[in-house]
Symmetry: C2
Subunit: 242 residues, 2 copies
């Protein structure tokens, strides 16, 4: 089973205070870019892998999705998601993405936001998702970018002129990375972009779009602290077709 | 027209002394990984974009390719390629990849080694290549990796413990990068992996394989200086299907 850091009280409290937790999708700077990769949802069946507080599930419901299934490993998050549920067509269930079972050909869209970098057996999960989608179905997800995850000591370096850079090392050494983010000892799985794409392709997915997310000019004008995100990508957004 | 740095005498002399120039394909550490992406060549028609001294063209001929066309912007390199030509089924021609014209559906494989990062209009070139390939044809190429190209001052940083890292900045700022490699003022075009893949997809290519090249254990045992290539990728290898 993957580490369930979200039910660590210290982590959960910190996570609950993030913009993306308080404000939902609009509090996540990469959301407009991720939303642009989504198919029309009206009448569609949607599964959200790592649904957290359920923001995306509620949004999908508002877009007219016929059925929405939100899956998460965290009891804390599922409890909040259920408490804010707006419809009987949204279901929430506890699931470990390392050993997920989904019915065959039962979803039009599989979605995941910033959850897959916790998964060790990504090949196994991609196979489950491929099988669960209908032919022509979409798989749209974000994860942390390998440039962001790879370093043994991730962080900015600032030179004498105040210029920021992000020192990369260990890029080819795939596997666990332990960082202290919100709580000590958060374990993520570093993989190259190539590995992630090739796992998708070998499962039978066709790659539709790959985006190493960076902020727009308008986003930087509104939130100048986002400018550093242009120096190195923090998020990877991918859409693929079954 | 793209900069033709290869006909700069200082650059050409330095380039001619590289392992990949003297020893050919086997002198390029990424060649085994790139070769693994190639289709069977027997009886096939091949175009090499940026053929240099013609090492790949001669190899493709040895593999039984029916016709091989090597294209390069450098008169110096074409002269050497022609001088070592081994067959009348290999042709060489001068071409600027910024304004390439190729006959429609006339090649089974388009190949390019470390040339596309000099090209400004990559979308235009990809469209020409897509049109020149037969349905089911392959496009296999290497280029410098954006992690390698992005920084304003690319180079290793070494900490007090002797640990190497590669500081990345300006990753989202696509466009020209001027470096002094073999000669001053070499101009390359930095693009994210996402941009390159999305240009291919929009042209109608299906992505088959993406590899952010790193050395194998055996390669490092034979050439210990290659170990640093595990810290950050220098090359990007891509295969796509028409």
């Amino acid at each position: 089973m993957a580490q369930n850091i979200y039910d660590n009280p210290e982590f959960f409290e910190g996570y609950s205070r993030l913009g993306r937790s308080l404000e939902g999708l609009e509090g996540a700077a990469e959301w407009p870019a991720l939303r642009a990769l989504l198919p029309e949802l009206r009448g569609r069946r949607v599964v959200d892998l790592g649904c957290g507080f359920g923001w995306f599930c509620r949004w999908a419901h508002e877009q007219g999705a016929a059925q929405v299934l939100g899956l998460d490993i965290s009891e804390n998050m599922l409890a909040q998601a259920r408490a804010t549920s707006t419809s009987t067509t949204i279901d929430y269930a506890k699931a470990d993405l390392e050993r997920l079972a989904l019915p065959q050909a039962s979803f039009d869209l599989a979605y995941s936001s910033l959850a897959l970098h916790y998964v060790m057996d990504l090949a196994g999960l991609f196979a489950v998702i491929h099988r669960a989608l209908v032919p022509g179905g979409s798989f749209v997800f974000s994860s942390e970018h390998p440039i962001y995850m790879a370093p043994t000591s991730p962080g900015w370096s600032i030179d004498a002129q105040g210029r920021k850079s992000w020192p990369v090392d260990s890029y080819q050494m795939e596997g666990p990375r332990v960082t202290d983010w919100l709580a000590p000892g958060v374990i993520k799985q570093h993989r190259t972009i190539g590995t992630t794409l090739n796992l998708l392709i070998r499962c039978g997915f066709a790659i539709s779009h790959v985006e190493e997310w960076g902020p727009t000019d308008a986003q930087i004008a509104a939130r100048p602290e986002l400018a550093e995100e242009r120096e190195r990508p923090m998020f990877l957004l991918i859409s693929a077709a079954r």
